[in-house]
């Protein structure tokens, strides 16, 4: 049987998704289900002085209107609200008290027999406010921004700011060629297609089953237990499918608190669905002001890097990521300094969004490198090669693998980079200016502790269970592939259970760590199953495996086979018959090896072509080549999709995406999917994805993860192409045509 790992297996949940059978959080029902509609604050900061729900309550079919005045009891301590990935600070508590912390904050929940009634009645809630002064503009808080502190949450410790090296100021002053620039990326919202929703079902025994849109069912389950003082078997959280997360579902969102509040208040099952507009009151990618200074020698080697970042968070939590460290993973430079400050604004807390920090910081770095290449009169790709780093500059350690040179080579060749005329505005096609740009991407290769249970039955079927999520990433499919290979069974004989908090432990699904974590977890548990089968097989009279050690046997084609002599084999069915067992169940936790001696990263090289109408400034990204080095690729089909998606996001970041706030009112003015622009079909043309061979021994299967690396560097490649086409450098994203024509 040929292995499944590394092949283009179609998604095992494909049929469910193309027939409409796959069910998402708002699609589970229960007898007597109630529908709830959220009332959102219309001021940005202050207090609720009066809230009158009488008109809403008078509507036929309305059961209750919950506010801070009449809600059921919730925890009083911050600790109860701190989830697995909470930053430092005091988490937001929905309907907790009269304080308004951000515009669009939920302040009441109308619960009714039908959604139409709830929505109408929500419009009748009368609220009076005492408004306070607020600031939502990062440029107005620029001077007041404070240096980030090392985080207290141990799982956030890796985001501590990097240490300086050498004397960057002196090296910059002495540099033969210098480039310094300021780059800006605005607030962006994830906008997954599925609306945030939670259906809280009160089971006949009074326990709760909560279907929630989340990237971590166990994170939500722990959180609900803390907030509502529940015992862990009082509540189960499920999300068999998630209509996109991109980081927005890592932390608990308010829909789940509200659904459970209402279910507890009424002892009835309740569904809460946010409107698209209300989803703009969830987390967002923090706006980022960056100053980058690069000092180079004439030969194109770097001597100094300075990276300053200001990012945005709320007044009540310090969310940030390691914004400034990425250059130290890409380029050699003896001198470097970093500064990262936080601007506290009257907004909800910012949060992780696809490749948090890297997507924005590498944009700035790679746009700055392009400008340095111009200053040096050097090909931008050649500059990258001259600065190439074989060691992580922060810790002065090697990489577990770094096939970035190969990405540059294969990507450039596929794109035809050598035919580029370096002169801006030199390439044309009809009335279009043509521009070619390139950039580099980098992300971390993480692995987290995880527990996997496998139940093998005598008919050669196996059920693999873990409380992870498939948020569109293909987790169901890669889990099935890995299990099929490790157990020597056909793919169709594997069933995957995930998205259920009662399954074995999993971290939240994010940061690109699940593929490596769960795959190696399956391998560990599968080895236990194999050992148990071997134990049984050895008991058979005249067993052909009597003297075979556990490391010398593999599972293949439904049999235990000696690795040295494939004629010595015992079928799974025979071994289980020998032991008179119908099923073998094993559950095992895999703790990844802590290898601090090497850096673990994924890399990419992106090449982009733009065509720009010279008169109108309309920009089309006509070609992108993304060459990726990310260890072993489990499934070439779903992996390609991950990268394609990342490239589309990068194009959106470069050209379309921006959450616009009217700072006079502190309110988002484009809080809908028509005026918040994301790429649509017509914006996306040819994208070629190349996976570069990259053996890596950081974990037994050599997996690094792919969810983030696809977006990193893409916005810079596009921006650099726009410069090459037009000779105009736009440093604040998105590059809209008005900026180009200005």
């Amino acid at each position: 049987m040929a292995p499944y790992i590394g092949t283009a297996v179609s998604r095992v949940d494909g049929v469910a998704k193309v027939t409409g059978a796959a069910k998402y959080a708002a699609e589970f029902s229960a007898p007597g289900l109630l529908y709830a509609s959220i009332v959102s604050a219309t001021i940005t900061k202050g207090r609720i002085t009066r809230i009158d729900t009488s008109a809403a309550l008078a509507v036929e079919g309305v059961l209750t209107v919950l506010t801070h005045e009449n809600r059921p009891r919730m925890a009083d301590k911050d600790e109860a609200y701190k989830d697995e990935v909470a930053p430092d600070g005091s988490p937001f508590r929905p309907l907790y008290d009269d304080k308004i912390k951000f515009n669009g904050q939920p302040i009441a929940l109308v619960v009714a027999e039908r959604s139409e009634i709830a929505r109408f009645a929500a419009s009748l809630v009368v609220v009076e406010y005492g408004a306070a002064a607020y600031v939502t503009d990062v440029f107005r808080r620029r001077e007041a921004a404070v240096p980030v502190k090392a985080p207290a949450n141990p799982s956030e410790a890796l985001f501590a700011p990097p240490k300086p090296r050498g004397d960057a100021d002196r090296a910059l002053a002495a540099a033969a060629v210098r480039h310094e620039g300021e780059y800006y990326v605005p607030i962006e919202h994830h906008n997954p297609m599925e609306l945030y929703a939670a259906t809280a079902i009160v089971d006949p025994d009074g326990k709760l089953t909560v279907y929630d849109k989340t990237q971590g069912v166990q994170n939500i389950q722990h959180y609900l237990c803390g907030v509502f003082g529940l015992k862990s078997d009082d509540v189960k959280v499920m999300n068999p499918y998630m209509g996109g997360g991109f980081g927005s579902g890592l932390r608990p969102q308010f829909e789940v608190v509200l659904a459970v509040l209402a279910a507890r208040a009424l002892q009835r099952s309740v569904r809460v669905v946010l409107t698209r507009q209300q989803m703009y009151a969830l987390g967002y990618r923090p706006a980022m002001i960056q100053r980058i200074a690069l000092g180079a020698n004439r030969d194109g080697t770097l001597d100094a890097i300075s990276h300053d970042a200001i990012t945005v968070t709320s007044q009540y939590e310090d969310f940030y990521r390691q914004e400034t460290a990425w250059s130290g993973l890409l380029y050699t430079s003896a001198n470097a300094k970093y500064a990262h400050r936080l601007a506290h604004l009257d907004l909800a807390t910012s949060c992780d969004m696809r490749a948090p920090s890297a997507a924005t910081a590498v944009y700035a770095l790679e746009a700055a490198m392009d400008e340095l290449a111009v200053a040096l009169k050097l090909d931008p790709l050649e500059l990258r090669l001259r600065c190439y780093s074989d060691r992580d500059q922060h810790e002065d350690r090697p990489y577990s693998s770094k096939a970035l040179r190969e990405c540059y080579r294969q990507g450039a060749e596929a794109f035809g980079w050598s035919r580029r005329n370096p002169e801006p505005r030199s390439m044309r096609e009809g009335t279009d200016l043509v521009g070619w740009g390139m950039a580099t991407g980098v992300w971390d290769a993480f692995q987290a502790p995880i527990t996997v249970r496998i139940v093998l039955t005598a008919n050669g079927h196996a059920e693999v269970a873990c409380a992870t999520s498939d948020i569109g990433t293909g987790t169901y499919t890669i889990m099935a592939q890995v299990a099929a290979d490790m157990l020597g069974l056909p793919l169709d004989n594997i069933s995957i259970k995930l998205g259920d908090s009662s399954l074995p432990q999993s971290p939240v699904e994010g940061g690109s760590w699940i593929a490596a974590s769960v795959s190696n977890g399956i391998a560990t548990t599968a080895a236990r199953i194999r050992n148990e089968l071997l134990r049984l097989a050895k008991q058979m009279p005249g067993s052909p495996l009597a003297d075979v050690g556990s490391d010398d046997v593999a599972l293949a084609d439904g049999k235990l086979v000696s690795k040295r002599d494939s004629s010595r084999a015992v079928s799974i069915a025979d071994a289980m018959r020998q032991g008179a067992v119908e099923r073998i169940e094993q559950e095992e936790t895999t703790n990844p090896a802590q290898d601090e001696k090497r850096a673990h990263n994924t890399h990419s090289a992106i090449f982009a072509e733009v065509k720009i109408d010279e008169q109108l400034g309309v920009i089309r990204v006509t070609r992108v080549v993304s060459a990726i080095a990310a260890g072993r690729i489990l499934n070439t089909k779903t992996a390609t999709s991950q990268i394609l998606g990342g490239v589309v996001w990068g194009i959106g970041m470069a050209l379309h995406e921006e959450t616009q706030i009217d700072h006079t009112f502190g309110r988002i003015v484009n809080a809908n999917i028509a005026e918040y622009h994301v790429p649509v079909h017509a914006d996306i043309h040819d994208i070629k994805v190349i996976f570069v061979d990259e053996p890596d021994d950081s974990n037994p299967l050599g997996i690094k993860g792919l969810g983030e690396i696809g977006i990193v560097g893409v916005a810079a490649a596009v921006a650099n192409a726009v410069y090459h086409a037009t000779g105009k450098r736009v440093r604040d994203l998105p590059i809209s045509l008005d900026k180009l024509l200005a």
Binding site: E27, E116, L124, P192, T640, A682
Partner: protein
């Protein structure tokens, strides 16, 4: 400062209930509805046909696209009461006799989705687009599919899937 969005009319804000007859995926249904019910909510909440998705409820994303008498419409902007006697096909009605529609199979073959949430809308839109016969080139397909947003960014694969199904039709 006071917030009050609109004055109350009738106590429940609705004007009684209305009855609607329509055929969905070949099955006739007679329903008594709140007149505010959208076709999308009728499908999802009254018939438990949750294949049609709600991504905005404002006609902006295409996730709710269904075929109404063969035409593609955004069902969130279609009031159910105005479709008395109509014939509706949703994603659940595309497969026939246990066989996937060629476009459904093409979506699987080309991995034309990730999270799957835009997929029912993309499929209904794509089926109608092929039937309309206006789109011949890749750029024309892109243009005429642009009402269906895919935040996962599966566009190039959706295009390939539609082209495959077009060749087969």
């Amino acid at each position: 400062m006071q917030q009050r969005n609109q004055p109350a009319g009738r106590a429940d804000g609705a004007s009684g209930t209305v009855s609607v007859n329509l055929t969905v995926n070949g099955t006739r249904h007679s329903l008594t509805l709140d007149p505010r019910t959208s076709l999308l909510d009728l499908l999802r909440e009254h018939l438990d046909l949750t294949g049609s998705k709600k991504g905005c409820d404002h006609g902006q994303c295409g996730a709710c696209t269904v075929l109404l008498d063969g035409r593609r419409v955004v069902s969130c902007l279609t009031l159910a009461v105005m479709q008395d006697g109509a014939n509706v096909t949703t994603v659940e009605g595309l497969a026939k006799d246990g066989h996937l529609h060629p476009l459904q199979q093409a979506f699987i073959d080309h991995d034309a989705f990730q999270c799957g949430y835009c997929t029912p809308g993309q499929l209904c839109s794509g089926v109608a687009l092929i039937a309309e016969g206006h789109a011949k080139t890749a750029d024309e397909i892109r243009e005429l599919m642009s009402g269906n947003i895919c935040r996962c960014g599966a566009y190039t694969n959706i295009l390939a899937a539609i082209q495959q199904a077009m060749r087969q039709s």
